[in-house]
């Protein structure tokens, strides 16, 4: 356990050294958030409530989604696995004493932690200055929200891990990771908030793992889920996390077998 904490901290530190490149990403997150916010304003001007959301809810959702881009790596895969498979370095990674999947999870959490501080706060804050957002006053809501974010990050890792592992079988994993990014964007609510989806699509989306990323943390943040319902959200997120991580373990085992058979 301690080892993983160290790995996470090391990843956090490493990304800290890249902080110079943050500005462009933060700027882009903010700009896109603002544009989306204007569009949502035009929509909610015509109907005061859609899918249980008022305008402030919708705008908050938009900026929460922008804030989650960094930690949950919503636009790119963010895992170095395919590059290491191509270069052959993955051979040493697979046979280290540290568990392969957990190693990458710990690294990703370090990266996510840094992204949360570096890329999430500013865009959301600027959104809050420019638009009227629904910001909870109760610190317990914030705490509950952060737990949901953490669980959502684990789910996002599990999804991206599965996509990245395709590199062991495919010469070019970009198709799979690209598809994964497309699904994440759409079903995560990055294109439009899920509440705008037609009922059937909205219900479907809420059953899929991608709902863990932005929608469920937003539910908590916006006070749409309180009390026991928050626990329900955690269960959903944790359930998907476990299922996807288990799938990941299976894939890892097959990958290891494949490397041994093929000689790296």
């Amino acid at each position: 356990m301690v080892v993983y904490a160290l790995i996470t901290r090391q990843a956090f530190r490493r990304y800290l050294t890249y902080r110079g490149a943050l500005f462009g990403g933060v700027l882009a997150n903010t700009v896109f958030g603002v544009i989306k916010a204007f569009i949502m304003t035009a929509v909610w001007r015509q109907r005061s409530t859609i899918g249980g959301y008022g305008l402030a809810d919708a705008l908050t959702f938009v900026f929460l989604a922008q804030a989650m881009i960094g930690p949950m790596s919503l636009l790119t895969n963010g895992l170095d696995i395919p590059a290491r498979v191509r270069s052959g370095d993955i051979g040493t990674d697979l046979f280290r004493p540290v568990d392969f999947q957990n190693y990458w999870l710990a690294t990703d959490l370090g990266r996510a932690g840094f992204a949360l501080l570096g890329r999430s706060v500013v865009p959301f804050a600027i959104g809050g200055l420019l638009f009227r957002l629904h910001v909870p006053k109760d610190p317990r809501v914030w705490a509950a929200f952060l737990v949901a974010v953490f669980l959502g990050t684990v789910v996002s890792f599990a999804l991206r891990y599965l996509a990245a592992m395709s590199a062991f079988w495919l010469l070019d994993e970009k198709g799979v990771t690209g598809l994964s990014n497309v699904l994440t964007s759409f079903l995560g609510g990055m294109i439009v908030p899920l509440v705008l989806f037609p009922a059937w699509l909205g219900h479907l989306a809420r059953m899929l793992p991608w709902a863990s990323l932005v929608q469920l943390p937003a539910d908590v943040f916006l006070g749409k889920r309180t009390g026991a319902a928050v626990g329900g959200a955690y269960l959903f997120e944790a359930g998907w996390a476990v299922a996807l991580l288990l799938a990941g373990r299976l894939v890892t085992r097959r990958a290891r077998h494949r490397v041994v058979v093929q000689g790296g």
């Binding site: 110079g20 490149a21 500005f23 462009g24 990403g25 700027l27 882009a28 700009v31 896109f32 544009i35 204007f38 569009i39 304003t41 035009a42 929509v43 015509q46 109907r47 859609i50 010469l171 070019d172 970009k174 198709g175 690209g178 598809l179 990014n181 497309v182 964007s185 759409f186 294109i191 439009v192 705008l196 989806f197 037609p198």
Partner: protein
Amino acid sequence: MAEPRLEPRFEARFEQKPPGVVATYMLTARMWARSALQYRASMVLTMVTSGATASLELLGILVVFGNVSSIGGFSLSEALYLYGTAQAAFFTSDLLFTGTEYLADRIRLGTFDSLLVRPVGVLPQVFADQFTPRRLAPLVPAYAALAIGVAKAPVHWTLLRVAMVPYTLLIGVAVFGAVWILVGAFQIVAADASEVMNSVTYGGQFMTSYPLSLYGRNLMLFLTFGLPLAYVNWQPTLYVLGHADPLGTPSFLRFAGPLFAAALWGLALLAWRAALRHHRSTGS
């Protein structure tokens, strides 16, 4: 050491004219395209994903209009027309000019200088950098949206309005093209901060896809007279669709695209030249 010759080489060299801007671009782009085609499977895959990603935004508009019947005074078909013009202009410019986006990498790797040792212009080589047929894919949903918009929008089609459609695309590509040059100049001078320009290029793509009236008066003013993205599609579209300009600008501005595009190109080329001078002076 050989007998010094009387320059047969120099004379032979000037028998034929050197390749101009377009020829240089075509030569370079063709090489890149053929390189990309060596990896056909990979290219097809990435075409599918980039086509899918571009289609997502289109899907987004459809979802939005599942809830309301108009945005910024634009009905669905009108919104699709506007969206189509922006996306088609952007992705066409992306196909032709995105090479400038890779300049930061080239400078970091030290491969920019090899472009300077060629007897042809630097900018056309840079434009054609990493040219790939993959960039054709997002044009499909873009032109699809445009086609639907043209077919369904309640437009009183006169000859002038019909001509305005390709005209809009042309000016749109020109405006975005100038932006790509500015991206290049910026990348030469500030290779580490290259991501900043994403907000202008992809942000510009996003903004122009929706009615500019959504963004409020100040932003509209900026996009009409500052960074003239309003001429990518908004101004001419106001004419085509017969909408009044919420900003209240005089109607001749609907056709002023070429002026602003030319001015932006002038600015961009000056910036490019300055950036090149800077690089050759400091070695970046």
